[in-house]
């Protein structure tokens, strides 16, 4: 099989031009040259592929002159017509990672040439481009070059040949969110027991159901004066006006509801219900205050324990609803709550 032709992109640092003081180094094409990490890649490629040109660009230059740098580099890549484009690896260098992701994505999208790159999972470029290009997961510094190249080179060859790409855990790239059905060799019960035994023995095991990454926020300061505070209710328990007027889905909700409870003193069987399909709805349908405590908050409002209960509540069904959707809902209605002068929110979940 003929050797695949590779164009390799690196920054000024890995080209040994200089560090931060040379980060404004303009994009440059070196035809027929293998530079810096290109040597290690070449070794790893063996007879499968060869670097026919290296493109070097300062990290600041790339990000500050994005349009020009991208256009110049794309024109050079087009002219060289490689089988595959390799950028980096960038390890934990933020601007370099973003540049690698940007240019690899552009090469694929605009020239139709497959591209791969590599970086540390916490490099901002990883989050930005992991769903668009294959990004080999590397260590956080150039000390991990050997390890990175061992994964990057074979993946570049596969992508360049148009071979089938295996799962992220097999190929070593950062999970890109693509799910593929396949048959496991061992049945579920056996795998589960094996995992449990490893866990009990404090040995490493790999979950088949990784949790999404949840962000953390700093706690808000305490509410100083409850007697004058405006309190709002929000729920993932699916409480809606009877008949579910906005058709909030019983699971995997695509939207949330905003309902006015001005003058509502008590949620009753006749007026409110739950749209949630993930728990037994009998109790919430009988009395929705069991999920959204409007009756009690009205009492506390009357007694002056709180300033007021906000006249709108926000609701969705948390059942199977994607974290990304929930985040988008909350971003939107949190703004509304703030604009309405709400001081604090009680979020109830079923």
């Amino acid at each position: 099989m003929a050797k695949l032709k590779v164009v390799h992109y690196i920054n000024q640092f890995f080209a040994q031009i200089g560090g931060e003081e040379k980060a404004d180094y303009p994009a440059e094409l070196r035809v027929g040259e293998v530079v810096g990490p290109g040597m290690a890649l070449t070794q790893q490629f063996g007879d499968d592929a060869e670097i026919i040109a290296t493109i070097i660009c300062g990290d600041s230059y790339f990000n500050e002159n994005l349009e020009k740098a991208k256009a110049d580099i794309l024109a050079w890549v087009k002219e060289q017509a490689p089988d595959v484009f390799v950028a980096g690896p960038a390890f934990n260098a933020g601007r370099y990672g973003v540049a690698c992701g940007t240019i690899a994505d552009a090469v694929q999208e605009e020239l139709g040439i497959p591209a791969v790159t590599g970086m540390y999972i916490e490099n901002p470029g990883a989050d930005m481009f992991k769903t668009k290009v294959y990004i080999v997961s590397t260590k956080n510094s150039a000390a991990g070059m050997r390890d990175a190249v061992k994964k990057l080179a074979p993946l570049a060859v596969k992508v360049g040949r148009g071979d089938k790409i295996g799962a992220s855990s097999e190929e070593g790239y950062i999970p890109n969110g693509v799910r593929v059905n396949f048959f496991e060799k061992e049945r579920g019960s056996l795998r589960a027991v094996k995992m449990l035994i490893k866990k009990l023995n404090d040995k490493p095991f790999e979950t088949e159901f990784p949790m999404p990454d949840f962000d953390r926020v700093d706690p808000n300061p305490a509410v100083k004066d409850l007697a004058h505070a405006k309190i709002a209710l929000v729920t993932s328990g699916g409480i809606v006006p009877k008949g579910n007027p906005d058709h909030i889905e019983s699971s995997s909700a695509s939207h949330y509801g905003e309902y006015d409870i001005a003058g509502v003193m008590d949620l009753t069987e006749e007026t409110y219900e739950t749209a949630h399909g993930g728990y037994d709805p009998v109790y919430a349908n009988e009395d929705s205050d069991r999920v959204l405590p409007v009756d009690v908050l009205r009492d506390l409002e009357k007694e002056g324990k709180i300033g007021e209960l906000h006249h709108l509540f926000y609701t969705t069904t948390g059942n199977g609803t994607a974290v990304a959707s929930s985040k988008a809902f909350a971003e939107e209605f949190s703004k509304k709550l703030k604009d309405d002068g709400v001081d604090a929110v009680i979020l109830t979940s079923t």
Partner: protein
């Protein structure tokens, strides 16, 4: 603040002020009680939620 029965989930998703609830299908109620008793129970949880809101915390805190 988050009123939630399965507090480990609340911890996992990152709530900072957490008040435990009664049960998944009726977090702020208990159908086994009569109406008045049930409302008292609910009021207790809501008061605890308000107390949590009025308390400074420097990280995730469960108000038992």
């Amino acid at each position: 603040m988050h009123v939630c029965t399965v507090t480990p989930i609340s911890m996992t998703v990152g709530a900072n002020r957490i008040v435990p609830a009664i049960a998944i299908p009726h977090p702020l109620g208990n159908p086994a009680l009569d109406k008045d008793e049930e409302k008292k129970l609910r009021r207790g949880i809501v008061e605890k939620a308000l107390e949590a809101l009025a308390t400074e915390v420097d990280g995730q805190t469960i108000f038992d």
